[in-house]
């Protein structure tokens, strides 16, 4: 009987932990939604500008979330644009070209990069900017481009790792078929191996997008500002959703602004949840499809 008491205690403990964890998350998200759902409206995003005019960039939006959302969107686009080619190429190299010893050193490097706190990456981006400003061109300021580059460094290790693991986990049978039919290594990679691992890679990329959308520390040091409107070029300051939330949390001047903060938090949460959902779905759905074609 004594044993069963321990077992019951173990079960009780595990259930308690599970409920505690889920409970606190529900508390957090519930709090956000209960307090903020009233703020969700077109007006929250576009203020009193007509949505169509704003979407066509014909009119600036003042007091709405639109500039911050556009800023975040461009930020994601640019940083993934930088990180993707570099990450894919590095991942391919590690999986298909590198001898074991080199692979070990490089993957240690990327593990370290993945562990570096984002604010340190931001500091790196900032000091590069100041350096370039002083010694290269005085027209270089902290801006959208710099933020995007720094964010690209932040998500680079994720993309490399996903690509590498996805390629390495392909079955040997698939790996050898094309070369035995006379395909070159490059053809094998681009026509067989990459398409076969596309689902894993895509889902990794979507997660990287989520990381770009949520990170605040990097952009705080490299060019995000409180008020900017729609960025006119990649060399100008910009607004971003996560920074907006941080800014409102400390600087709100009245209840109305605070409500906008809640609204922005819910929107960011939704964006991240949707991205996560897409990543999950891509993995399940595309995996099923590619399996079928084997």
């Amino acid at each position: 009987m004594g044993k069963n008491v321990w077992d019951m205690l173990l079960g009780f403990f595990a259930w308690c932990c599970a409920i505690l964890l889920v409970g606190s998350m529900i508390l957090i998200i519930g709090f956000l939604i209960l307090k903020g759902y009233k703020a969700i409206s077109l007006e929250l995003i576009f203020a009193n500008t007509s949505p169509l005019e704003a979407l066509l960039f014909k009119q600036q939006v003042f007091g709405g979330l639109f500039p911050a959302m556009v800023g975040t969107f461009f930020l994601i686009l640019l940083s993934i644009g930088f990180a993707l080619p570099l990450g894919l190429a590095s991942g391919i190299f590690l999986a298909e070209y590198a001898p074991d010893s080199i692979k070990k050193i490089f993957s240690l490097c990327f593990d370290i990069l993945a562990g570096v706190p984002s604010i340190v990456i931001g500091l790196f981006g900032f000091s590069i900017t100041v350096l370039l400003h002083h010694s290269f061109n005085s027209q270089i300021f902290p801006c959208l481009l710099i933020s995007a580059l720094s964010l690209a460094f932040l998500v680079l290790p994720y993309i490399i790792k996903t690509t590498q693991v996805a390629l390495e986990s392909l079955p040997l049978l698939l790996r050898l078929t094309a070369p035995s039919l006379g395909a070159t290594k490059l053809e094998n990679i681009f026509l067989v191996l990459l398409p076969a691992s596309i689902s894993d890679i895509t889902s990794g990329i979507v997660l990287a997008i989520g990381r770009c959308a949520e990170d605040t520390a990097v952009i705080m040091l490299t060019g995000v500002v409180a008020v900017a409107g729609i960025p006119k070029s990649i060399f100008s300051g910009f607004e971003a959703l996560p920074f907006y939330i941080y800014y409102i949390a400390s600087e709100y001047s009245d209840q109305f602004e605070l409500m906008k903060g809640y609204g922005a938090a819910i929107i960011l949460l939704l964006i991240c949840a949707v991205l996560f959902g897409i990543s999950h779905w891509v993995k399940e759905w595309l995996t099923a499809k590619t399996r079928f074609s084997y």
Partner: protein
Amino acid sequence: MQHREHIAGIIFWGATALSAGVTLAVLGFMVILSLPIIKNDMILEVLTGPWSPDHGLFGILPMIVGTLCIALLSLVVSFPVSLGCSIFIEIIRPDKPGRFLKKFVKLMTAVPTVIYGFVGVFLLVPQVRGFVSHGSGMCILSASLMLGLVISPTMILFFSQSFARVPKTYLNAVDALGGTQFQKLIYLLLPQAWPGILTGIILAFGRAMGDTLIALMISGNSVVLPTSPLDSARTLTAHIAMIIAADFDSIEFKTIFVCGGILYLMTSFGIFLARFSAGKQN
């Protein structure tokens, strides 16, 4: 044809070298930019002294201690719960709730940290202030509670992964001997999976140490050595975020590169440890 293959190989190699170069460049920048402090023999003073720019003191010891306190306490809060959750997922295994919890934990990794910070400011801090009837509620405890939640998915996923990696045959052997779940955990799973558990703990600690927003928003950011969990404290990351606006030529500004360097070295040391302990289980 051969030519193209060759060029592609070089491009891939170049991309990898470039990416790895970034890793080293980050460290290089931190070291080079904190050189003025190292050269002037100020490094010891900076690492062990108090912070009071009005009096010409630029020590970052309070921030180092603050960082360690907040990260450690969040680990203490989060570890038992995370262990319990991974036991729930891998050992107790109630069919539907188990799978639900695993999905739920994965979903948690997607929640932006600024959201935790935001809710911390408006929900947790007032509660803590009312509950402990001391201080402003912006303290190590508040930050650690929120951070504990942020790092728990890392631990839970690592723990359950390493539980799952214990060979099925061993588990069956325990079952065949009539062992209970509790005995299975104590005598088989924990001894077998401890390197994985350690890896999870180390990585979670690194994550807690590297987080900026939560500490910046809810730990109060004061600059004295904390003496209790209810004291306000500043982390290295928050310190960087606050001082970045200062004069570029001032000593204050240069110390943030020392902070950056310390954070970089501590997290890479963590990665070494984690790799080492992860290697053990394999």
